[in-house]
């Protein structure tokens, strides 16, 4: 029976990921259009809903080009290595918990594998994607591709540190590395308990999946299209879809770690996967909002932001959470009050101090 369950879950996850990726592509174009006071794509199908299908068909029909002087095999393999980790992340994401839910009840958590080391698994798997980018940048035999790959490495290495440190705070508060137990532990959503951790995770994750304002990898005005400059047809589409699959993955992880996953806030309604999907859309909307509001940062600003702003704050957050864990304050409403006030204070103070450092400005 276990085999049957795994097969069903693999099918569900594939269907979920691919349909959500299509929806995200359309949503991004429509919503960014609204932000920029233009309609966005609205011609194909009702409200432009068939636009992703039209794009997919167009891209499948295009020629698949490999640079003559590039490394052919690495060039072919790179999109697969870049895309696969995005799907692997969903193996440990719990869609609904054990017990009665809205409409139906489950006898075990609805996840492909509720690993004991789920958080570590996510961090490990998401660190693989950069290798796909490096492979693409190298094998294309193009200077812009190589520059993009170099930027990818610098960005990944820098942003992984604060990202992981902010997750450690979650692990301390929930006492588990399993994603399902982390959701179960959130009688108060961790976004209230650790607002600083949420901020750091969200910014770090935005940078790690190369979304604006940290999309230096794809700075068109500087390095054409970075590591996928020399790609066309379906192989380009795999990079493109991979980016949205990562956005979906990060939205799902933020929902699980900070927003209480499949639980309704404060348990007012029974748990359901519907709340989880709604939270995914909410987080993705937040990303779009950030994208349409902020201009792209420069490479030195981005590195300074990771090492001088996010890293100290993530250490402060870790210390704060650990101190509350061992003291009598615990992780109740008292901690929520303290942490919200301290988070605002730290961000304001550190941002002001940061702004005055000579020669380095981040705005």
């Amino acid at each position: 029976m276990d085999w049957l369950r795994w097969i069903i879950f693999v099918v569900i996850i594939l269907a979920f990921a691919l349909s959500f990726v299509m929806a995200f592509i359309l949503l991004e174009r429509r919503i960014v259009g609204k932000f920029q006071l233009r309609p966005g794509p609205n011609r194909v199908g009702p409200m432009g809903m068939l636009q992703p299908v039209a794009d997919a068909v167009k891209i499948l029909l295009k020629e698949d080009i490999t640079p003559a002087k590039g490394d052919r095999w690495v060039h072919r393999l790179a999109p697969i290595v870049a895309f696969a980790p995005a799907l692997l992340v969903f193996a440990v994401v719990p869609f609904q918990g054990k017990g009665p839910g809205l409409g139906f009840s489950l006898d075990q958590p609805a996840a492909l594998a509720d690993l004991n080391v789920g958080v570590l698994y996510i961090v490990a798997v998401s660190s693989i994607s950069v290798i796909g980018m490096i492979m693409a940048g190298w094998a294309s035999n193009n200077k812009y591709s190589l520059l993009g790959a170099m930027r990818a490495i610098a960005q990944m290495v820098s942003y992984e540190v604060p990202l992981v440190l902010s997750i450690v705070g979650i692990v301390i508060a929930s006492g588990s590395l399993s994603l399902n137990s982390i959701v179960e532990a959130q009688s108060i959503p961790f976004i209230l308990l650790q607002p600083l951790g949420f901020l750091i995770y969200f910014l770090g994750a935005t940078a790690e999946i190369n979304r604006a304002p940290f999309d230096l990898l794809e700075a068109e005005s500087e390095i054409v299209a970075s590591y996928h400059t020399e790609y066309s047809g379906m192989r380009f589409a795999m990079f493109f879809l991979g980016e949205y699959a990562y956005a979906l993955g990060v939205s799902a992880i933020v929902s699980v770690l900070f927003l209480g996953g499949y639980k309704f806030p404060f348990g007012l309604l029974p748990q359901s996967f519907i709340w989880f999907l709604a939270k995914i859309f909410l987080v993705f909307f937040l990303m779009l909002w950030v994208r349409s509001t902020l201009p792209r940062v420069r490479i030195d600003q981005m590195m300074a932001f990771a090492w001088k702003f996010l890293l100290p704050l993530s250490l402060v957050n870790l210390l704060l959470v650990a101190a509350e864990g061992v003291s009598t304050i615990g992780f109740g409403w008292a901690a929520v009050g303290i942490n919200v006030i301290l988070a605002i204070a730290f961000v304001v103070i550190w941002a002001n101090r940061f702004y005055r450092v000579k020669g380095v400005t981040v705005g």
Partner: protein, 164 residues
């Protein structure tokens, strides 16, 4: 049965890609095969029930070390052809044969204990944490010494690259 099959597949993958790393001329491809070797070893850890170790293997070796390795290769010249001639060929051969001999000697001298088949595999993370950080286990001092060593290495790196 399934465990045995996966062990042999992973072992073949690990040995095959390790051989390719040594034999390939193209340094970049060699580095990519080194990554596949790391993955196979992580898979071996999974078959042994070492869940934490498998994840850390991927995180540290693939996510950090391999990425730095690839970055270093990008900065080298003629990475696609490798170095055609090396003066250290004989010395290298002697050193690697000596290393191989030492490893075989240790391998043969070690009494390998086979775990009781009835033991139920448990998650190892909490146990590892408790062993490393409680005073009773006796691993606190080595753990802290390793931390100080890493800190010293980080500070050394900063001093080295600091502008005058």
């Amino acid at each position: 049965m399934g465990l045995a099959i996966s062990f042999w597949l992973l072992a073949a993958a690990a040995v095959g890609s390790a051989l390719a790393v040594v034999l390939l001329r193209n340094v970049f491809r060699a580095a990519l095969l080194l990554i596949s070797c790391f993955f196979a070893i992580a898979g071996l850890f999974v078959t042994l029930g070492a869940d934490f170790l498998a994840m850390v293997q991927v995180l540290v070796y693939v996510g950090a070390i391999a990425v730095l390795l690839l970055l270093a290769i990008m900065l080298t010249r003629e990475a696609a052809t490798g170095s055609p001639f090396s003066r250290w060929r004989i010395g290298g051969a002697i050193a690697s044969v000596a290393l191989l001999a030492a490893m075989i000697a240790v391998f043969r001298a070690t009494p390998w204990k086979v775990a009781d088949q009835s033991v139920v595999l448990k998650p190892t993370t909490a146990e590892l944490g408790a062993r490393l950080l409680t005073p009773e286990s006796g691993f606190v001092l080595p753990f802290e010494i390793a931390s100080v060593l890493l800190l010293a290495a980080v500070l050394g790196a900063i001093v080295l690259v600091k502008e005058k």
